[in-house]
């Protein structure tokens, strides 16, 4: 679904990503690549085949949207360098025409030079006239600007008759803050307070819907 933020159109994708048509920009948060490998390196057997889903999802999303630019809003890589890095390099190499930027998150421990080597820019924030992109929500966002972030892994609980409930990932808007759902398959959900939100957009299996 397409929404308007500060007069600019954004498309909310059920693939848990945000698309900004005017810049042909795709925004993705909290992929946590290399997580299975990091666990395994530390003696915890999380099957690394589980991570494969992330690469499949990224590829099909790039093919579908065909963006010019991609911002990863932090926690792209789960921790320090490990073997999964090669898979990421392969992915980037396969999409040479896309300009990738990593907005560094708390989990991104890999040296920036590694990213530069494969032509991925690394920054702490990106700011233009209307938006500030960062990993964690920033304090003191200038009036009139919107801070687009990841980090939280937002989810909301939907409830119905018979004391039923389900938890779903969501895009969560609160005044000047737009929080993206976590993209990675090896991530969980943090329950948000619906009442504090200005808008909540539920991510369903084949669509996005406003709550």
């Amino acid at each position: 679904m397409t929404i308007d933020i500060s007069g600019v159109a954004f498309t909310l994708l059920f693939q848990k990503a945000l698309y900004k048509p005017d810049e042909e920009l795709l925004i993705i948060a909290d992929v946590h690549l290399g997580k299975a490998s990091h666990f395994r390196k530390n003696g915890i057997s999380l099957p690394s085949s589980a991570q494969q889903g992330d690469y499949d999802n990224l590829r099909s999303l790039f093919d579908l949207v065909q963006p010019k630019k991609v911002y990863f809003l932090g926690d792209l890589f789960h921790s320090s360098l490990n073997d999964d890095w090669h898979n990421f390099c392969d992915l980037v190499a396969a999409y040479k025409h896309i300009q990738f930027t990593l907005v560094r998150g708390n989990h991104d421990l890999i040296n920036g030079s590694k990213f530069h080597d494969i032509c991925v820019a690394v920054v702490d924030t990106i700011e233009d006239e209307l938006f500030i992109y960062s990993h964690e929500p920033l304090n003191n966002v200038a009036a009139g600007k919107v801070n687009v972030v990841g980090h939280i892994h937002p989810g909301v609980v939907l409830s119905g008759m018979g004391r039923q409930s389900v938890k779903l990932p969501c895009f969560y808007m609160q005044e000047q803050l737009m929080i993206l759902p976590a993209f990675g398959v090896l991530t969980g959900l943090y329950s948000m307070d619906q009442n504090k939100a200005s808008h909540v957009y539920l991510v369903l299996s084949d669509s996005v819907r406003r709550l």
């Binding site: 395994r40 003696g43 915890i44 057997s45 085949s49 490990n82 119905g160 039923q164 389900v166 090896l186």
Partner: protein, 807 residues
């Protein structure tokens, strides 16, 4: 009595002017003749000395340096008790036999001293034994070990700590095949099995020594003057405080047992508010308190300076507090054995009567007082079901061995299959465990950095210091939530508390903990800094834990007692409930033993159906899932399930076709395995069991309070592992174990079969309610709910969204 073969005992008993019991002499004889065995005796009759003088006598036949006897107890408080009792003997007789204590309480200084020179007798816990096995050169430490004594084995056997003991014994037996094993156990329904599990498949002479001594227990139910017709959990208890105070006053020293730590805190606080004079003469005791505080309370109890102590299971076991003459059980004890154990905390002297008051926390619970008395009188005591095939504990144990001196696969396999727990484990399954710790599981991945245990010349070892340290910190099978320390701003540890509770508070908020009103100042590095607050308001931390199921013994006795209502001769507990029973009759129906009551009602929440099999929470949970599964075969449905010990509720947004399901043999027990398996698959029970398994197997950890170990980036919750294994590694043995544990312990399949067979013969009575009945009300207000659905996820979301749109 011929004590010539037991001169040390003879001297001690003469010196103390005591006469040994027959069972004590018999035990000394058996130990002298080289038997292993199980001693079954009630507390308070000198079972410690029945073992101890046998052990001492053997030592002086052939003195060797180092540890001669390991005495393993489930509780630190009990370890201390044994330490004092045995130390008294060495002191009193001027023996050279040295005794040491080793548990979580033991200081680093003392440990280092022990390492230099081990005492002859070491009193310790299952976890500490495994920590000793995780230390380099443990072979040398245990080379002269002759005896392992397992105290309160009945308490350990039905837990994974019991599995830890079985595994430790398999190693110690291999170091010294002549090692003798003795268990001490209170009476349980399966003593023979308890002996088999403990002694394993090692051969050698074995015996069981039983006493015919019986502890006299007097049970009195505290019955409220006014019976609430609509009972709900926890409400009534505090109201009965007025009845409790006179009991405390007329007794020398009283233990008040609660089932949860929060109940413990609340009772302590309310008693103090009502009777400020008790300050200083009353204390509380539970497992979240700091070691110092707990030890202080235990000492004060010994010295008789406390009038009352509000406690939890932390004071359950054989600790001998002589001044205690009265016990009050607050809320259902859930089982006969536990109730008798707690009763035994009073009147500890041989021959004394144990006096216990039962204080119900809601009116229906009053029946339990009557049922308990019946079960105690007729010695109807529960069985303890031992764990089998606990791969999580095996995996932890293998890494423990790899951390210290390493192990060889063939040798260790031969050792572990001698235990009861693992005797059915095949070599393939064992190999899977090896693969799990060396390669991270059965998936062979071309390019992998998995690192935990490595094989060097056939020896499985841990080479990484980080892996070793994290493993040592994680040894144990008691899984709790992430804990953080509570400390005064000015210094001084108070205890530890669940992180999720503290995380809901903001600085400035107050809460009750360890009987004190505390204000949260800040949280830093897994520590909550607090100060005393003058206020009187604050949250009580609530802990999950009061979820123990009613045992089958107790539930069948309750059914029997319920049937006595209206008959001429009945217990005071039953007749006191007449108003509630009459209300139940008026609103619905009061079922007899040959009837099964089903109640239906529609409310704003949806369609409710209540069943009352009176089989205990566990069986109800399993049965509810089974029924949900069978009903949802008629049409796809989603249920919210609630249960208590008396019955359970199915709640749905659609009308529940219960009559149709009854016509389709809802209670059929002839062919249920497939249905049970399917229902477990759909419900979330296995996922919940997997939480403990993942932690014990070292997949999940919550960080270590007060320890500087970085773990943030390797923390994930067990649900993630459950999901990933289900999708990518469905043959994972730990995943299988979760399902097996649900089948054995959660569903108690055997018990459920029996219940279903009984229900098939019962006359079913279905009542459509206009208003809630006294029976259904407490179930309706249960907060913990199980989910069951076989509707498509998308369909459910769609329905909920439609409901939202309509609203």
């Amino acid at each position: 009595m011929d004590l010539s073969k037991h001169p040390i005992a003879e001297q001690w008993f003469k010196q103390s002017d005591w006469q040994p019991y027959d069972f004590q002499v018999n035990t000394w004889d058996a130990i002298g003749k080289g038997y292993s065995g199980l001693l079954n005796a009630p507390t308070g009759f000198g079972k410690t000395y029945a073992i101890w003088f046998g052990v001492l006598q053997q030592y002086y036949k052939k003195q060797k340096p180092g540890i001669h006897c390991l005495w393993i107890t489930p509780l630190r408080a009990l370890s201390k008790e044994i330490y004092m009792a045995t130390e008294r003997v060495s002191d009193g007789l001027g023996l050279s036999y040295t005794i040491g204590l080793r548990s979580g309480d033991t200081s680093l200084k003392e440990r280092t001293q022990q390492k230099k020179k081990m005492p002859n007798g070491l009193i310790t816990t299952p976890e500490s034994v495994h920590l000793l096995l995780a230390a380099k050169g443990y072979n040398d430490t245990f080379k002269n070990l002759q005896f392992v004594i397992i105290d309160e084995w009945h308490e350990l056997m039905g837990t994974k700590r019991g599995v830890q003991i079985e595994l430790a014994l398999s190693r110690l037996k291999a170091i010294n095949p002549e090692l003798k094993i003795w268990g001490i156990s209170a009476t349980i329904g399966n003593l023979e099995e308890a002996e088999e599990v403990l002694l394993g498949g090692y051969g050698g002479k074995r015996t069981m020594i039983r006493t015919n001594l019986k502890k006299r227990i007097e049970i009195e139910t505290i019955i409220p003057e006014v019976i609430e017709k609509y009972p709900w959990g926890g409400h009534l208890g505090i109201k009965l405080m007025e009845e409790v105070l006179p009991i405390i006053h007329k007794s020398n020293s009283t233990l008040l047992f609660t089932n949860t730590r929060s109940q413990c805190e609340i009772w302590y606080q309310r008693l103090l508010e009502r009777e400020p004079d008790l300050a200083g003469a009353m204390a509380l005791h539970h497992s979240a308190l700091s070691d110092e505080t707990r030890l202080w309370v235990e000492n004060a109890l010994h010295e008789g300076i406390l009038k009352a102590v509000v406690c939890t299971s932390s004071l359950d076991l054989g600790v001998d507090f002589r001044p205690v003459d009265t016990v009050i059980q607050i809320g259902s004890p859930k089982g006969v054995a536990r109730f008798m154990q707690r009763a035994g905390r009073s009147g500890h002297q041989p021959g004394a009567i144990s006096k216990i008051y039962f204080l119900p926390t809601h009116s229906l619970e009053i029946i339990e007082g009557s049922a308990l008395r019946h079960a105690v009188t007729h010695s109807e005591i529960e069985q303890r079901v031992p764990y089998i095939r606990s791969f999580d504990v095996l995996i932890q144990y293998l890494v423990t061995l790899a951390v210290s001196d390493g192990f060889r696969a063939n040798e260790t396999y031969e050792e572990v299959i001698k235990t009861h727990c693992f005797n059915s484990v095949t070599r393939e399954e064992f190999n899977w465990c090896l693969l799990f710790i060396t390669d991270g599981g059965s998936m062979l991945e071309a390019y992998d950095e998995f690192h935990k245990v490595v094989i060097e010349n056939g020896l499985y070892v841990v080479t990484s210091k980080r892996v070793a340290m994290r493993h040592r910190l994680g040894i144990g099978t008691i899984v709790s939530d992430a804990m953080i320390q509570v400390t005064y701003v000015g210094g001084g540890r108070i205890g530890s508390i669940e992180e999720w509770f503290i995380s809901r508070l903001s600085p400035g908020d107050s809460f009750w903990f360890t009987g004190k009103n505390l204000e949260l100042i800040r949280i830093k590095d897994m520590t909550a800094y607090v100060k005393r607050s003058a206020g009187n308001k604050g949250a009580f931390p609530s802990w999950q834990g009061g979820r123990m199921p009613l045992s089958s013994q107790l539930s069948s006795t309750i059914r029997m007692k319920l049937d006595e209502y209206g008959k001429k001769k009945t217990d005071i507990e039953i007749s006191s409930l007449s108003q509630l029973f009459e209300e139940q009759k008026m609103r619905s129906h009061l079922p007899h033993n040959d009837e099964l009551l089903i109640e239906k009602i529609k409310t704003r929440d949806g369609y409710h159906v209540f069943f009352y099999p009176f089989e205990g929470r566990n069986v109800h949970e399993g049965m509810a899932s089974l029924f949900a599964y069978r009903i949802s075969q008629i049409k796809p449905m989603t249920f919210s399930i609630a249960m208590n010990d008396y019955g359970f509720e199915l709640l749905s947004d659609q009308e529940i076709p219960v009559e149709e399901a009854l016509g389709n043999a809802l209670f059929d027990s002839s062919n249920i395995s497939a249905d049970i398996y399917a229902s477990v698959n759909i419900s979330e029970m296995a996922k919940r069991k997997f939480r403990d398994i993942a932690t014990i197997a070292g997949l999940v950890f919550n960080g270590y309070p007060g320890k500087a170990v970085k773990t943030r980036h390797v923390q994930a919750n067990s649900q993630l592992f459950f999901g990933v294994f289900t999708d990518f590694d469905p043959n994972n043995l730990l995943l299988q174990q979760a399902y097996d544990e649900v089948m054995t312990f959660q569903m108690e399949q055997v018990r459920m079969m029996q219940a279903l067979q009984r229900m098939e013969t019962q006359h079913v009575i279905i009542k459509d309610l206009e208003k809630f009945s006294p029976f259904c009300f407490p179930i309706l207000t249960e907060r913990f709910r199980e989910k069951f659905t076989n509707e498509k996820f998308e369909d459910r979301v769609k329905k909920m969204l439609e409901q939202l749109d309509r609203a």
